[in-house]
Subunit: 168 residues, 2 copies
DNA sequence: CAGGTACCATACGCTCGCGTATGGTCAAGC
DNA sequence: GCTTGACCATACGCGAGCGTATGGTACCTG
């Protein structure tokens, strides 16, 4: 019955697995909260913008951008997926984390909305679809964390089609 | 920096908030794990089947069934939403919980696939779309847990339309 | 070479929270 | 009315894990 998420990071265990003493840890970080805060900051600053930049520098076509984005976020799982899931459970219990996550969510959402608008979908509908896509993303990360295989090619392609379906 | 998810349930706190002593708690449950196990079982047995039964007894039309399902799972938030999110973070760290969650997921997925197939979508595509819908659901619960407002009517209606869009 | 700075280790105190030991109450049954 | 069983409370032992105290090494720098 191991601990889940952020509660599973213990400074003594971490220090040991790093082959370092606890005293050394506390030289670099004021306390456990400072470590977690630093991790949060790194995630907020790098995780999102790196992907957005990569997609934007790759192509201008909205459909291709969506494709490229899919490849990056739904592609091969990384250790960061677990973090994506954990950070959201954490946000439920910590107002500060919550505000950071909300900001990240807003930034990502805006990126997707812009793509969909460029693809010719009107703004209101674009917002709705972006919201749905983002829910899919969060849900996918959550499910990966307990072993569900990632969304396969045909499914992504289906979603791609549905998201770009013209509004009737 | 409060604890998140399942780690936040402590038997001493729980006993106190129930106006009961710790000794009394341990009369009813062998240990903390037994309590969590009981909660899991209750969730696995009731949470899913109750909704499925309600939807099935309401209407036969696939589109309406989907509508009815949406109303029930995306409607007014309950305390159970937080549990849905927490249980998934928990599953990442506990194999037994994982197997229960996987079983629940399978059951729910099958229900949605059947609806979509009844709506005339071929099986393979129905599976894909059901998968996507389920990701939306999990993602939505996760985001609710840190304060995102629930998906609004137009968004649900959009998703309803997209899910039932004929395959080209 | 004396002292300062950066970094690391060991050892301690302290809190939280689990599980258990022990005993109390109250109602039912012989 | 005494015993038994169900239920509850208080008090303890104990480990996990945080943060700190204290001291060491090694490298500068004047």
């Amino acid at each position: 019955m191991g601990r889940a998420g952020v509660d599973s990071v213990r400074v003594e265990r971490l220090a040991k697995s790093l082959g370092v003493s606890k005293g050394s840890f506390y030289w670099h970080f004021a306390d456990r909260a400072a470590l977690l805060e630093a991790v949060m900051q790194a995630w907020a600053e790098q995780g999102t913008e790196a992907i957005i930049d990569a997609v934007e520098s790759e192509t201008y076509d909205p459909s291709d951008r969506l494709q490229s984005l899919f490849g990056r976020i739904f592609g091969t799982p990384t250790e960061l997926d677990a973090f994506e899931a954990a950070v959201r459970a954490w946000a439920a219990a910590d107002a500060h984390v919550q505000s950071i996550v909300r900001a990240v969510d807003r930034r990502r959402l805006k990126f997707v909305v812009d793509i969909l608008v460029d693809a010719g979908i009107h703004k209101a509908e674009a917002r709705r679809r972006a919201n749905l896509l983002y829910c899919v993303l969060i849900g996918e990360y959550a499910q990966r964390s307990y072993g569900k295989p990632r969304l396969d090619g045909p499914t992504l392609s289906s979603m791609h089609t549905l998201l770009l379906t013209p509004v009737d």
